[in-house]
Amino acid sequence: MPFDLNVNGRRHTIDADPSTPLLWVIRDHLGLTGTKFSCGIGQCGACTLHVDGQPVRSCSVAASTAVGKRITTIEGVSPDGNHPIQIAWKEFDTPQCGYCQSGMIMSALALLQRRADPSDADINASVTNACRCGSYHRVRQAIHFAANLMKNGRR
């Protein structure tokens, strides 16, 4: 039974079982591979994307739950990779292997959109993604840097 999804501002008709996890519709049916699979049980956050601005662990929700809502993936954060959060990530050379970083950025972006100047405690509470390389130290610095860029009207 085909259904429609609005992803990164575009409408797509999906021919898949609507109970398929949103992650696999995004990756396999739409070919947006920036959103990653890692644990499959909503634990690690590698699959984090936004549904109506809220961070969602897309491996663990059915695609049908996102029908009629706005989905944003890492590919939709900016057209050129230069959203302030991406500039900040580059400034600190934040990623190592990079596999968790799409989800990490989407969690951090959701926080920044809710709270313009997050405290360390806010970051601890909201950016709960797992990184095996240990990029956390730079992730925290990059979030504070991005908050400054965004406050100064870069976007």
Partner: protein, 770 residues
């Protein structure tokens, strides 16, 4: 037309189809024929291609897994090439070409002998050249097409600098011939060649075509820059692949899409050595997207370095989630070897401990340990343990394989592509020269992408579905079955102290699973801390768990044992653990003792060692070394960890002060800092959270709900890293730094709570105090 040539043409056609299907997809791996067909940019040598627009393509023979090798390898080449760094584009080298062509003669005469290299270089440690590809193919084009042992910079620097220098010299010779001027009058900088006397200038891009056709008359005479001449190496360079990573564009193995591709989900027998007795495909064949199912045997141990994994079942479907849902619902019965199903953690631990009571293989026996114990004023004994630990890299195991009747293509993030080519040839019967392994970035490596049989499983499945590309992807649970583990181990350390608290006897006995890596590390040859009577023996026991080269290998466990025990001795002697270590290193005659002392001194100074801390906080210091017993290469660092523990027993690593040596020179200090930060997290997890247990022969913790990964809230708020200069070439620092977190948290727990825990991890222990 030869077989190989026909394959090359097939490949070009095939890949042009792939390129048309997805622009992003092509970026991640080497596409030689397509690159040649599209822009025909001149290749100066096997590492360097320069386009007319001055873009410099650098071919990288190691795999990028977060360590920064795409950038550090490019830096080593471009230091000599003297090109415009902003126009450098890394690209994976071709593993097939690596095997097909011989290395240029001028890379084979490697000068130097570690610390005494007259050209200021290092000595590639190529290890045994085993034809199975484990250690590389003798004199292959790129010298060393694998990524292991924190060795990419150490082993690569000499020939990579030479490659850059050879290309630069030929660019200069080409310009000199064009202008008919002596080459000595030309200068090269930022991709521009200038003849100052006549005011003529050209760019690398303009002269590259001529340079490609200009041989060097005497390449043996080319010299490389010593560290004091570096201008690019030694500077902090942001990693060249980071912009793609923050935009979600990087192509990992899991992201590979090939036209006509089907997906495979598998279940392997959860008890190693087990196989499939039966499965019922009829129960799932009607499910959406399902195409076929098949069973596969235990991968040939000759292809997996002797490790015995499991047989299993694969379901092939149009989409991965369909295959996964179907294999989950398919009835499977296993043939499980009873001997393996009898293994349980408690029994395995008892076996390891019991071995410590028996004489093992004596590796070192200096002085007379028994006599010294008899005259000791105090005897201290402690037994420590470390559990089985996996990589648990974030990207689950996967591989995409297309087998046709005369050719195999594998797309995979792989730290050892020549091993995978060997496997593909053996499994399919197709000659190795027609096997192409196309490298992708890895979502974490931590030891040959898990040492697991994901490639072998995928090749077996694709071989049964010839002409259909198969993308195998493990679930997280399968990844815990498919990875290899660091061997669990125990150690008993016993010291006799004299009346002043200095050790006069030390006996170390370790016991770990057979084939675990590094059973001698950190204790072999000589005690790192002075003791006149020293014995080290080890024991190994056969268990069924496949073990492999996990980040830190045996050394991470052994430094936990050694440094924990040094803390215990210092406390028993009533001495300061920093000064106690310092004095005992000063008393040795180890070649790098001065550097070890400097590391300890600097870390202590940085941390404010000795300054009072509030109740509930403590500092602990430890030494980290590899190779300190030799007089060749080594890597030395020391760290002080400042730890707080709440009255309720919550541990927080508050601050880490790191003193790390430079050796002759660090290639990219930014990458070194990131690796140090990352390893603090890695060994924090080993110390606090992580362990795999075995029940009825199965790995119990098989996803991130049961196997905990620390998050940003546990990251130390303050990390200070300082480098101190040393005069030897480093062994590498990508896998065995920050092992000190383990002993330091243990000692902080002791200082704050009075309780001593000797079994990792510490989580789950009652760490409260009042």
């Amino acid at each position: 037309m030869s077989e190989t040539k026909r394959s090359a043409i097939d490949r070009r056609e095939f890949l042009s189809v792939v390129a048309a299907s997805s622009g992003a997809f092509v970026f991640g791996f080497w596409v030689p024929e397509r690159a040649a067909a599209q822009n025909a940019a001149p290749e100066i040598n096997a590492w360097i291609v320069i386009s007319p627009d001055d873009t410099v393509t650098i071919r990288i023979a190691q795999t990028e897994l977060g360590q920064g090798v795409w950038t550090s390898n490019a830096m080593m080449i471009c230091e000599e090439l003297q090109c415009d760094w902003t126009k450098v584009r890394p690209q994976y080298a071709s593993a097939n070409r690596d095997a097909r062509e011989k290395a240029p003669e001028w890379t084979l005469k490697v000068m130097g002998n570690g610390a005494t290299d007259p050209k200021g270089g290092g000595e590639p440690g190529f290890g045994n050249r085993d034809r199975t590809g484990v250690a590389g193919i003798p004199d292959s084009l790129y010298r060393r097409m694998r990524t292991n042992a924190a060795s990419s910079v150490k082993d690569g620097r000499y020939y990579l600098q030479l490659a850059g220098a050879e290309a630069r010299e030929r660019l200069l010779l080409a310009a000199a011939a064009l202008w008919n001027v002596p080459v000595a009058e030309l200068t090269a900088k930022d991709s521009i060649i200038t003849h100052t006397r006549s005011g003529r200038r050209t760019t690398y891009g303009q002269i590259a075509d001529r340079a490609a056709r200009t041989p060097h008359p005497n390449p043996e005479a080319i010299t490389i820059k010593s560290p004091d001449q570096w201008t690019l190496m030694g500077t902090e360079r942001k990693n060249l692949d980071v912009p793609d990573k923050v935009a979600g564009k990087t192509v990992y193995g899991i992201d590979v899409r090939v036209p006509g591709m089907k997906w495979a989900a598998v279940k392997a027998c959860p008890v190693y050595g087990g196989t499939v007795r039966s499965y019922n495909f009829d129960a799932i064949r009607q499910l959406p997207g399902v195409r076929s199912a098949m069973q596969f045997p235990i991968p040939d141990a000759a292809l997996t370095r002797g490790r015995i994994f499991s047989g299993g079942v694969a379901v092939i479907a149009d989409h991965w989630y369909q295959a996964k849902a179907a294999v989950d619902r398919m009835p499977i019965e296993w043939d499980i070897p009873q001997a393996n199903a009898a293994f349980n953690s408690a029994g395995m631990r008892a076996t390891l401990l019991a071995a410590l009571d028996r004489p093992g293989r004596v590796r070192v026996d200096q002085g007379n340990v028994e006599d010294a114990f008899a005259r000791a004023s105090k005897v201290i004994e402690a037994t420590y343990s470390t559990p089985y630990l996996p990589r648990a890299r974030m990207e689950p195991g996967n591989a995409t394989v297309l087998v046709t009747n005369d050719r195999v293509d594998v797309w995979i993030g792989d730290q050892s592509p020549q091993e995978t080519r060997f496997s593909a040839s053996k499994i399919t019967g197709i000659p190795e020269e027609n096997v192409y392994v196309n490298l992708c970035h890895l979502g974490g490596g931590f030891g040959r992408n898990g040492n697991g049989p994901q490639a072998e499983q995928a090749i077996m499945i694709a071989n049964a579905h010839r002409a259909t590309p198969i993308h195998l992807l493990w679930t997280r649970e399968e990844d815990f079955i498919g990875t290899t583990y660091r061997a669990a181990g125990v150690a008993r350390l016993k010291a006799g102290l004299d009346a002043d608290g200095w050790p006069i006897a030390l006996e170390v006995r370790t016991s770990m699973q057979e084939d675990g890596f590094g059973p001698e590390s950190s204790f072999d040859v000589a005690s790192r801390y002075y003791v006149p009577n020293y014995r080290f023996s080890n024991h190994t026991t056969k268990f069924h768990v496949p073990v492999g080269t996990r980040r830190g290998i045996g050394q991470a466990a052994h430094e936990f044992y050694r440094e924990s025990f040094m803390n215990e001795l210092a406390h028993a002697a009533g001495k300061d653990p920093y000064r106690y270590r310092r004095e005992l290193i000063a008393r040795t005659s180890l070649p790098y003792k001065d550097d070890m002392i400097r590391a300890l001194d600097l870390a202590a100074e940085m941390s404010g060692w000795g300054k009072p801390l509030p109740r509930g906080m403590a500092r602990a210091i430890a030494l980290e070394e590899r190779g300190a017993e030799t007089n060749r290469m080594a890597t030395i660092s020391a760290m002080v960890h400042t730890v707080s523990i709440s009255r309720e027993g919550k541990v927080k690593l508050e601050r880490v002060d790191v003193a790390h040596e430079t050796g002759f020179g660090l290639v990219n200090p930014l990458s070194v800092k990131k690796q140090i930060e990352g390893q603090i997290t890695w060994f924090y997890n080993d110390a606090m959270h992580q362990a795999n247990t075995i029940k009825d022969g199965r790995i119990v913790e098989n996803n991130f709900n049961a196997f905990k990964l620390s998050r940003i809230d546990e990251d130390p708020p303050e990390i200070n890293i300082r480098f101190f200069e040393t005069k030897h070439w480093l062994l590498g620092m990508g896998h065995d730094r920050a092992t000190s977190v383990q002993s330091a948290i243990g000692d902080a727990i002791f200082q704050i709570t009075g309780k001593r825990f000797r079994d990792l991890p510490y989580a789950g222990q009652d760490l409260s105090w009042s």
